[in-house]
Amino acid sequence: MPQQASVARDVFELVREAIDARAIVENLKTPEDGAVVVFDGFVRNKFKGQPTLYLEYEAYEPMALSKIREIGAHMREHFAIHRVAMVHRLGRLEIGETSVLIAVSSAHRAAAFDACRYAIDALKRGVPIWKKEYFAGGAVWVEGEKPGQQAISAPSSSTP
């Protein structure tokens, strides 16, 4: 009989408070798994050589959440993984604070690595979230890539 703890409870969230990596990872682990791979992205102290004071993230929230869920669905479909957590923080973040946490559990580590890497690549190119860097002299919206659905459903060759 399956234990209660083993019921899959994926986590997809946009939050405005600090991301508690430990709680998210511990919540993800179940005794059936053997491996968790975690990607923790956090605020760097420099942007193009200029010291960053802090930064702000904003999102097209309902669409961002729905795209994050799609990434999760794609992971389940393409990788032999057990559970997924994807949490992105919005609002003002200080240097060193975690902006995004992705955790993937699986029985075999290769699937967790592949899925986690796909997830952060897809998030960075397919989820409508924007970052504004604040410097002593002003602020700038960071320009990443032109977003699109193909980042989620047909990721480039960098991920299997």
């Binding site: 992105h88 409508p128 990443g144």
Partner: protein, 81 residues
């Protein structure tokens, strides 16, 4: 017909608003809506090639036709993560 228009990131700062209602004639497409804003805000028009459009929270083709009540968003290059 009336649609909701949303702007994010630097587009929001160019337009000076994150959300507006727009009145369009029947048959209008996403690109027509963008062109209207591009005329009002020439700087916005310069972004055309790096922007994606969404229609009701899904990525959309610029030629997608609009219907009343639609939610259109113009999405500059993303930088989450």
């Amino acid at each position: 017909m009336r649609v909701q228009v949303l702007f994010f990131g630097q587009l929001k700062e160019i337009v000076g608003a994150s959300q507006e209602e727009a009145e369009l004639s029947e048959g209008a497409r996403v690109e027509d809506l963008f062109e209207r804003y591009g005329r009002r805000f020439p700087k916005l028009a310069e972004f055309r090639d790096s922007i994606a459009a969404s229609l009701n929270r899904e990525y959309a083709d610029w030629r997608a036709p609009l219907a009343t009540g639609d939610e259109v968003a113009f999405l500059p290059p993303v930088s989450g993560g």
